[in-house]
Chain length 170, copies 2
DNA sequence: ATGATTAATGTTATAACGTAACATAAATAA
DNA sequence: TTATTTATGTTACGTTATAACATTAATCAT
């Protein structure tokens, strides 16, 4: 008998330790991307992969034009359109999220599971991480039903200090 | 014995009926703005008032450059800076909110009470309204404490269909 | 394989959103 | 009335994002 599929992301994401081995995050993300694309019958082309790598260069959200600069460090002349197109692709497939409050993009650590992304954004170290949105989504649903509002997309971005930075500043 | 001050906005805001008497909303907003500014020792100058009026021209969020166009319909040459400065002022005093997901601004119907704004945004009629964020904020707080994250600002914007538009489309 | 079709990328130009920096004018305080 | 602060004017530019059309590369059907 198969186990019941879970409705929520497997683990609440923690803010990464400042000195963690980030190469593993990136490697994981790329492997996941390959899997996801294969499953979706989508092509992870050169430029899409490079954009994803740039996004995963850190846990801080990165702007489209910073990604562009990264891609062109070798003197290339990739245009903004190319980056935005790659980002659109990556978002469609759940590999990247956009943070509306920062006009910036961040890699999704839970790309293989469908979910609504809720973010915690640290104003000190600039990193951002997905929070477990289960309780919040429940609260939103409840409130919405009182309004008769039918939700389609939740944008939830909490800005503040992550545990590491808060400890530092104490 | 005085009644205990309420922590939450007095009433949950409903989506305005499509055919409501909007002139009253605007009039209320302007009166409130005067009161608030007086209380804060701030000046509601000509341009600030005109920007506020433009914002209150409807319940749909409006972009800064649309406000600008509105102000210049008479052939004036007000510059973008002036609009952004007025918007900054109005936001500081809680008279206007910014919707990060739309790069747009909307009048605050609860300007006299301090609160965090949570929005419902209808993709059909384009109007937006503040929801009662009490339950959501509670859920956010709870989740955050598990992360050790210290919140400073909550951006919550739910996109979907308001009750009126949902009924229409049914 | 070959041509038809779709998908992806290249290229140019421009729209939309937002701010820096410095000059001027208007209100308030001394 | 002069000094000071507050608000606005003005110019220029930075940043973010997309439209429109051309070209190239992959996939499909025969």
């Amino acid at each position: 008998m198969a186990t019941r599929p879970r409705k929520t992301p497997s683990k609440p994401q923690a803010f990464p330790h400042p000195h963690h081995d980030h190469s593993r995050c990136t490697a994981n993300a790329l492997r996941t991307a390959e899997t996801v694309c294969e499953k979706h019958g989508a092509r992870l082309t050169e430029i899409r992969r490079r954009v994803l790598e740039a996004v995963w260069a850190s846990h801080a959200p990165i702007g489209a034009y910073d990604i562009l600069a990264e891609l062109n460090t070798d003197g290339g002349k990739i245009a903004p359109m190319a980056v935005y197109r790659a980002l659109d692709f990556l978002m469609e497939h759940g590999l990247v999220h956009r943070l509306a409050s920062l006009n910036a993009f961040i890699g999704c650590a839970l790309a293989s599971e469908r979910h609504t992304a809720h973010f915690l954004i640290c104003r000190s170290c600039k990193s951002a991480t997905e929070m477990d949105g289960t309780a919040v989504t429940r609260a939103v649903k409840k409130t919405l039903s009182e309004h008769g509002f039918v939700p389609e997309n939740e944008i939830i971005e909490i800005q503040g200090l992550c545990a590491h930075c808060h400890k530092e500043s104490a």
